[in-house]
Symmetry: C2
Subunit: 385 residues, 2 copies
């Protein structure tokens, strides 16, 4: 396997894009990434998307987007792994170039969610859970996460307000990200008084849906080095699965797939958690950010909230997360999220993150979670110079 690098990134602002079709959203991110890479052609296209078949009445996104951007591809497929579809597409693109099978790849995550009524989208999201044992019982994704958070608070003795800084940090960083859905800071008071969605999860624990697309161009490292770019190497890629239903896990408070996939990525990169300068975690809910930090070795089991309370997760902290707003404030267009994380890590490593730049960032990690922890994909990117 030859080493590979990201040489171009592109994204659109996450919003309610009623005036843009699915292909225009994806196309805008693709064109931005191609322009950033300084390329007119690319060999292959890997599209991360969860729900276009039902939400947009459009499948076959590989050919559909390839055609729209005017390229004939040697490969053009859609990868679906629920909310981890974005990272899954990036991983497939990375592997295709790393293996020598293809010489360049575009990974794009796209999701257009706001054309459908919100009740339908809640039902769509539930298709990531087990239809026979979870969704058909009426359990939405918020409800599943609420059960986990309730149990976590009971087991480890935290209170709801202890999770506040996950959201406060995300919103504080989102203020400076022009691509974020929300550019407004929030206060502890607002967090504590927000409407409850599914006890104990309130509206400020939870990430918003939206329409969005983000893309990256991947080429062999050797080629990237010859270009006039800051070279961002993909140093590690790991993936692992767990049971699809939470009730089948021996410990519902431990993201086993996050532990396994981050270990794979650490081993490939030859790095350990202390060497990670920033971590784009999957903060779909504050409890998910907590569990992710613990499973990846940044906190002891049950101690994730301490990192937030002690302000270790802000850009100047020990392990900055959600540096561009995270899922919470940047937004969570499900199948696109994993690609936004990659784009944001690249921005940090290029030192193009402006007001929320992590000082001298050289090693960044992104973790994308599908379902309630049943498919977790971790990437480590390293600045080369």
């Amino acid at each position: 396997m030859r080493p590979v690098a990201v040489i171009g990134i592109g994204q659109v602002k996450i919003d309610e894009h009623w005036d843009l079709s699915l292909k225009e959203l994806a196309g805008n991110a693709v064109f931005a990434a191609m322009q950033d890479a300084g390329r007119a052609r690319v060999d292959s296209l890997f599209v991360g998307n969860m729900m276009s078949g039902s939400a947009n009445r459009q499948q076959h996104l590989g050919s559909y987007i390839a055609d729209w951007v005017g390229l004939r591809m040697h490969e053009a497929i859609r990868i679906e792994a629920a909310c981890s579809s974005g990272a899954a597409a990036f991983r497939s693109a990375v592997m295709a170039v790393a293996s020598g099978q293809l010489d360049s790849a575009l990974a794009v995550g796209v999701e257009k969610m706001t054309d459908s009524p919100i009740a339908e989208i809640t039902t769509e999201l539930a298709t990531a859970a087990d239809a026979d044992y979870e969704s058909d019982m009426g359990t939405s994704f918020v409800a599943l996460n609420a059960l986990v958070m309730q149990r976590y608070i009971y087991e480890y003795g935290w209170k709801h307000a202890d999770f506040a800084n996950f959201s406060i940090n995300a919103h504080a960083n989102g203020v400076y990200n022009p691509f974020a859905r929300f550019n407004s800071p929030i206060t502890l008071d607002a967090f504590e008084k927000a409407h409850v969605v599914a006890d104990p999860i309130n509206i400020l624990d939870a990430s918003p849906v939206g329409d969005g697309a983000a893309a990256a161009v991947i080429v062999p490292l050797e080629e990237a080095r010859s270009l006039n770019h800051t070279c961002i190497r993909v140093a590690g890629s790991g993936a692992a699965t767990d049971t699809i239903a939470i009730h089948n896990r021996s410990n519902p408070l431990w993201l086993k797939a996050a532990e396994l996939s981050s270990k794979q990525a650490y081993n490939q990169a030859g790095l350990s958690p202390v060497e990670i300068d920033l971590f784009e975690a999957h903060d779909a809910f504050t409890i998910m950010a907590t569990l992710s930090l613990e499973a990846c070795g940044f906190a002891e089991p049950g101690q994730g909230p301490r990192l937030a309370i002690e302000n270790q997760i802000i850009p100047a902290g020990r392990i900055p997360i959600s540096t561009r707003g995270g899922l919470k404030a940047r937004g969570h267009p499900v199948g696109a999220t994993g690609m936004y994380q990659i784009v944001e890590v690249v921005q940090q490593l290029r030192h193009e993150a402006g007001e929320t730049q992590v000082p001298d960032a050289r090693v960044g990690m992104a973790q994308n979670i599908g379902g309630s922890g049943s498919n977790i994909i971790t990437h480590i990117l390293v600045r080369e110079d």
Copy 2:
């Protein structure tokens, strides 16, 4: 890239499986393939499926099926490329093992279509076309293929009955395949008198939908050689895209993506059309079988029907197609079809195809078509001994 081989195959009969859920269908094919391979474990899972999100309210098939078959995977994703999802999943699995990234892979194609009313399925299938310019105008997939067939007949001077042997051969072979949806032969008279669906396509030009799943286990060739199996090597894999809408092609009667992807596969395998002993073509409609044979170099442009008329496509002919019934008689559960084709090629190369065995078959080709020719994937498999 290291060479890889198929060491296990499994399939379920294509039918209306109202008593089996999506995971049971997929699981039955997976268990059969694992048993055939003599393995209890496998590293990764690549699921080909087109429409489970809407037809079955279930996405996230990677984790969902991995969990059901009781395995924790290093990778478990769904690949969607409309009707070519099956071959796309096989190709991803082959590449993952060939690259050294993974040591074993399961590819499974699964589709469960008969729980939804047929009108809904017609709408689902149309999501493979361009929603903005084809589906929204009311053009179904049969209608698109009918336009192509009408034009083909006009340009090259054939009549509808000249396509009869494509269906007659498929049904004759399906009689002997216990996994085929239809086990009944048809006559020329029946073909000529069949109800018209969209002129000139009648019900016996078109393939039936159904519920089905087919799977294969892929390992490095070196490992396969050490096992007590007939070793079936994956000698070539090619993929290419074309415009998603037929009306954007300079020649709507030429499958450019079939030409390009078959050339890739021939080049990789170091083989030419005359060396192919059998060809599992994508005979979703008789016109598609025709165009596929021409684009892959088995007939001159406009001369595909001659192969059928001269009986060159039967098991004892020059280029046998649909040897186990093809899409026409075996059935076309869309996202599973590409995997049925692979399973059937393996059966032929192992000389386990019974009454429709192609004499001394050593080289088999399978071609899976997504949309109306917008994503075409070709594989060449070779018997090693």
